[in-house]
């Protein structure tokens, strides 16, 4: 549906008449801001955009985007989006939902959407908590998390969203911070344009039930030393004064201080095209490592499920569509009663 007379959109054109009902200070607001910017610049007509979500605070997202939208049921948004995209591949489909929705009850639909490389865009608003149900731990909560449902601390090791995405064969994997609207916008934009499933994890602050969960990585003072902004083809440098980097020794990555006999040439060069690197990056956690932000992995060449399906449909039609419905219903094994 490329369109010559594409209207000039502004971010505010994507606001709805509904009051936004997130708590003051909720990290979701930032994502909404970024997403409106992205949509304005995407070059897609508003009526061809669809936002799909499950249930949760994050999942209220579609109500606030003046596009087509569906607030479905808990955990099933990737399946709903799949149906939309297979029915009408001309639509640009976003899934925006929370960590409980996409990784707890919805984990299976998420990995199957990823492995199929459906051309949809999944945005995970990860606040490491169940917000809407007033604060139980989620599959991304750290071990020992004390919540309403775990008064003595949670016991299970968290799921690693990016590692799961890598293992599921996702073709665009990125991570960003709710406080970094600028890079969030560009990452979402690139993801939207990517042919295939894009998966973007957003470190999102739940101001009420898990406030500051990400502050170790999101704040002015903490960010430089606890996050690593990835750039394809560039060495992995981070730190307040860009004075630190990641180097590989033997089978492991390690953090090094630049200067002395260690130069940029000793550092790992980020290669978006290397899945194994992407997995290694997904295993870097603060405080031992800075946590990677930006595009961990991108493979634009794998065909999407929806393209393959429609090619197959066209092939078959080409071959067989001389057949009429009557001939189908009649079949080729009949007899006549006089």
């Amino acid at each position: 549906m490329s369109d010559v007379t594409l209207p000039e959109y502004k971010a505010k054109d994507f606001a709805t008449d509904q009051d936004v009902r997130w708590c003051p200070g909720c990290g979701d607001y930032a994502v909404l801001t970024a997403m409106k910017k992205v949509c304005a610049g995407l070059g897609v007509r508003r009526e061809n955009l669809v936002f799909v979500s499950g249930i949760g605070c994050a999942a209220r997202f579609p109500y606030y985007m003046n596009t087509y939208g569906a607030h479905t049921i808990h955990g099933r948004s990737p399946a709903f989006a799949t149906g939309i995209k297979l029915a009408n591949p001309d639509l640009t489909v976003f899934v925006v939902s929370g960590d409980g929705d996409l990784l707890s009850i919805g984990g299976n639909h998420t990995i199957h959407a990823l492995r199929r490389n459906m051309d949809i865009n999944i945005v995970l608003l990860n606040n490491k908590i169940y917000g809407l149900t007033k604060g139980q731990y989620s599959p991304t909560s750290e071990v020992g998390k004390v919540t309403k449902s775990t008064p003595y601390g949670s016991l299970d090791a968290p799921l690693n969203p990016l590692a799961i995405a890598v293992a599921s064969g996702c073709t665009y994997i990125a991570r960003t911070l709710d406080v970094d609207v600028k890079s969030m916008t560009s990452l979402l934009d690139r993801g939207a344009k990517h042919k295939g499933t894009s998966f973007v994890e957003v470190y999102q602050d739940c101001n009420v039930f898990n406030h500051k969960a990400w502050f170790y990585a999101s704040q002015k003072d903490t960010r430089p030393d606890n996050t690593l902004m990835l750039e394809h083809g560039k060495p992995m440098i981070f730190g307040k004064d860009s004075n630190r980097g990641i180097r590989r020794v033997g089978e492991k990555n390690e953090v090094v201080e630049l200067g002395g006999d260690i130069t940029e040439d000793d550092l790992l060069i980020h290669d978006e095209g290397n899945l194994e690197n992407a997995f290694q990056l997904s295993q870097m956690f603060s405080p031992e490592f800075p946590e990677p932000m930006g595009v961990l992995y991108c493979n634009p060449d794998q065909p999407t499920y929806n393209d393959l399906l429609h090619e197959q449909v066209d092939d078959v039609i080409e071959k067989l569509d001389d057949k009429t419905l009557q001939s189908l219903v009649t079949g080729n094994n009949t007899w006549t009663v006089k």
């Binding site: 549906m1 709805t16 509904q18 007509r45 508003r46 009526e47 061809n48 669809v50 936002f51 799909v52 249930i55 579609p62 109500y63 003046n66 596009t67 087509y68 939208g69 569906a70 607030h71 479905t72 049921i73 099933r76 399946a79 709903f80 989006a81 799949t82 149906g83 939309i84 297979l86 029915a87 009408n88 001309d90 639509l91 299976n108 639909h109 199957h112 399906l309 197959q312 449909v313 078959v316 039609i317 071959k319 067989l320 569509d321 057949k323 419905l325 009557q326 189908l328 219903v329 009649t330 079949g331 094994n333 009949t334 007899w335 006549t336 009663v337 006089k338």
Partner: protein, 624 residues
């Protein structure tokens, strides 16, 4: 039973029921299928029922590896595979043992005696040294014809000059058996031989296999002729079916064709999302081949993803359909609630099987009616319809799509394993005579768009993504009347609950009234697959001089408008069901009539005689 009193070379019979059984490796389904073609061509009416083993391919010769195929063919109009078998072919002891009880007293049993050796007899639990074929009792009860099929097949197929694989030869035993049966019932085998030759020779490019099979059939046929095994042959005259072109059809095939037809009649692609499950998988298989008829199939990761992706497709403007069986329906109920709230068209096909839980996947039952009616959270009415014969699956499939679009709501389409797999002759419809189904989508008219503004029938507009100016959001939270915005207002919830219910009830105006056949104080009210058994049973009752009226429900929610009047007109209402009384409970509560149930919850259809007897008893109990 088949009586051979007459000395005449060939005895006329009204109907005959034949059963082929043997190891799942013996190709019994195929044999039965060929024989069905034979009787079809001869113009008989017929009804078949496969009897699949629960196991894929259990070790050879075991009881649980037995596969069976029963067919009744007749010079009259029939609807069931027959209560008792008149003639059975048993290819091995396991088949013989586990199917003996289906044969009428005095019935013919043709066995492949070569297979009745020590090992095989032991495998199916006959004790050491006993061979049923030598059992006095059995031989006096049945007419057991021992045929050394294995040997004869080899002898007749293995020729000096040519080199053939013994395996291929042995695989032809079933064709030898087919030949015998064809002879016994005075049938011409030429058409079958042609078909087989074409299939193996041309399609598969294996002329030798074609040759072997043809020879085997002939060999069997001639054997019947020459051997003195049978005192007489039998003939079943053609049935007087309505004139026209016919095909054989099973319920699942008919459903597939019905959906393809619906797609063309609506002018929209069908998106069929499913997760395989017995006995519904064949619907997915059948539709998967019809991409050139506007059908797209999606094998989802589970039942929930299947139904949810179908709703997504409906949101995007296609006809979202999902198919499953009971346990799968249980998983889809939350999503059906979502479709109810979003008021999007959705068809849920449920080919029922015996439950609860995993139950008996290969057996049939009607026990998902109440799940279909009430198996959702909150007040969540949906349309429920049911097919009543293999051929009817075609027309009800079109109805399901029509009603889903008519009211923008979920429609649960109930079929049954016994319909899905059973075959009957089907007068091929002229598809051009089937009315088209009109759908409209709103366009931007400048006015603010109100996604929940209903038409006079309570239907809301179906605006689809891609339509400029009609951007809107749907969801599972209660909607505000007209705007569809999230709304927690008490009065609004009461209103929307009422509207969702009325919209469904209102479909009474769009479905046919219930037809009653016959005049009597007693009404036999049925639904689904029991139609055939009921029809046949009341025929039997007529012969006994007992008269009853019958009516059969294809529409279970809403009920036909005139159902109340129909019930009121009869002093006694009897409801036969393959469950413990699910329709009965609906009828009793809505109409307060003391409907009596005849219930069989054993995983099989009614036997006609059993049903007739029970009706008779029920009528004697308590005066109407």
């Amino acid at each position: 039973m088949i009586t051979s009193e007459e000395s005449s070379a060939s005895t006329q019979l009204p109907s005959v029921s034949v059963r082929f059984c043997g190891d799942s490796g013996d190709g019994m389904q195929l044999t039965g299928s060929h024989f069905t073609d034979i009787v079809a061509l001869a113009g008989n009416d017929f009804a078949t029922a496969p009897d699949f083993p629960a196991e894929i391919r259990a070790p050879r010769g075991t009881l649980f590896g037995v596969s069976g195929y029963q067919i009744q063919f007749s010079s009259q109009d029939i609807h069931t595979p027959g209560d008792a078998v008149n003639a059975m072919v048993a290819m091995n002891p396991a088949g013989f043992k586990s199917n003996l009880h289906t044969v009428e007293e005095g019935g013919i049993i043709i066995v492949n005696e070569d297979e009745f050796d020590k090992g095989n007899l032991k495998k199916c639990g006959y004790e050491e040294g006993y061979n049923p074929l030598d059992d006095e009792m059995l031989n006096s009860t049945y007419r057991i014809c021992k045929v050394p099929m294995s040997r004869l097949t080899r002898e007749s197929l293995i020729k000096e000059e040519e080199d053939v694989s013994v395996k291929d030869v042995d695989r032809c035993r079933n064709m030898f058996a087919l030949g015998i049966i064809a002879w016994l019932f005075s049938r011409d085998v030429e058409p079958t031989i042609e078909k087989i030759s074409h299939y193996f020779g041309v399609v598969k490019g294996k002329p030798q296999i074609a040759e072997l099979n043809s020879r085997a059939i002939k060999a069997g046929y001639y054997f019947g002729e020459t051997a003195e095994l049978f005192p007489a042959r039998y003939q079943v005259a053609p049935a007087t079916l309505e004139a026209g072109e016919y095909r054989r059809i099973s319920g699942n095939e008919a459903l597939v064709l019905g959906l393809a037809t619906a797609s063309e009649k609506v002018g929209k692609p069908i998106f069929y999302a499913s997760y395989p499950i017995t006995p519904a998988s064949d619907v997915l298989h059948g539709l998967a081949r019809l991409k050139h008829f506007g059908i797209r199939t999606f094998q989802a990761e589970d039942e929930i993803a299947a139904v949810v992706s179908a709703i997504g497709a409906s949101f995007a403007g296609q006809i979202g359909i999902t198919g499953t069986s009971g346990p799968g329906l249980a998983l889809k109920t939350e999503a059906v609630g979502l479709a109810t709230m979003m008021e999007l068209p959705l068809v849920i096909v449920n080919v029922q099987r015996a439950g609860p839980a995993t139950g008996m996947p290969t057996k049939s039952e009607q026990s998902d009616l109440l799940q279909s009616m009430f198996g959702r959270s909150g007040e969540c009415p949906v349309v429920v319809i049911a097919a009543s014969s293999p051929g009817d699956c075609y027309f009800m499939a079109i109805e399901a799509v029509r009603l889903a679009l008519r009211a923008m709501c979920p429609v649960i389409y109930l079929s049954e394993g016994s319909l899905g797999n059973a075959a009957e002759p089907w007068k091929i419809p002229d598809v051009s005579s089937i009315p088209t189904i009109k759908v409209t989508h709103p366009e931007n008219n400048g006015e603010p768009f109100l996604p929940y503004q209903r038409d006079e029938h309570g239907k809301r507009p179906w605006a689809i993504p891609g339509t400029e100016g009609l951007e809107h959001r749907l969801g599972g939270l209660e909607k505000e009347d007209l705007t569809g915005n999230v709304c927690y207002d008490n009065a609004n919830h009461a209103l929307m609950t009422k509207q969702r219910a009325e919209k469904i009830q209102n479909l009474q105006n769009f479905i046919p009234e219930l037809e009653v056949h016959g005049e009597s104080d007693t009404l036999i009210l049925g639904w689904g697959s029991t139609k055939g058994s009921i029809l046949t049973a009341i025929g039997l009752l007529k012969d006994r001089g007992i008269n009853v009226a019958t009516a059969h429900l294809n529409y279970l929610n809403p009920f036909p408008k005139n159902l109340g009047d129909v019930l009121a007109k009869h002093k006694r209402v009897i409801i036969p069901e393959i469950n413990t009384g699910q329709l009965r409970m609906l009828i009793r509560s809505e109409f307060l009539v003391d409907a009596v149930g005849i219930n069989n919850c054993s995983g099989r259809s009614f036997y006609v005689k059993e049903l007739a007897d029970e009706i008779e008893q029920t009528m004697q109990g308590g005066d109407a």
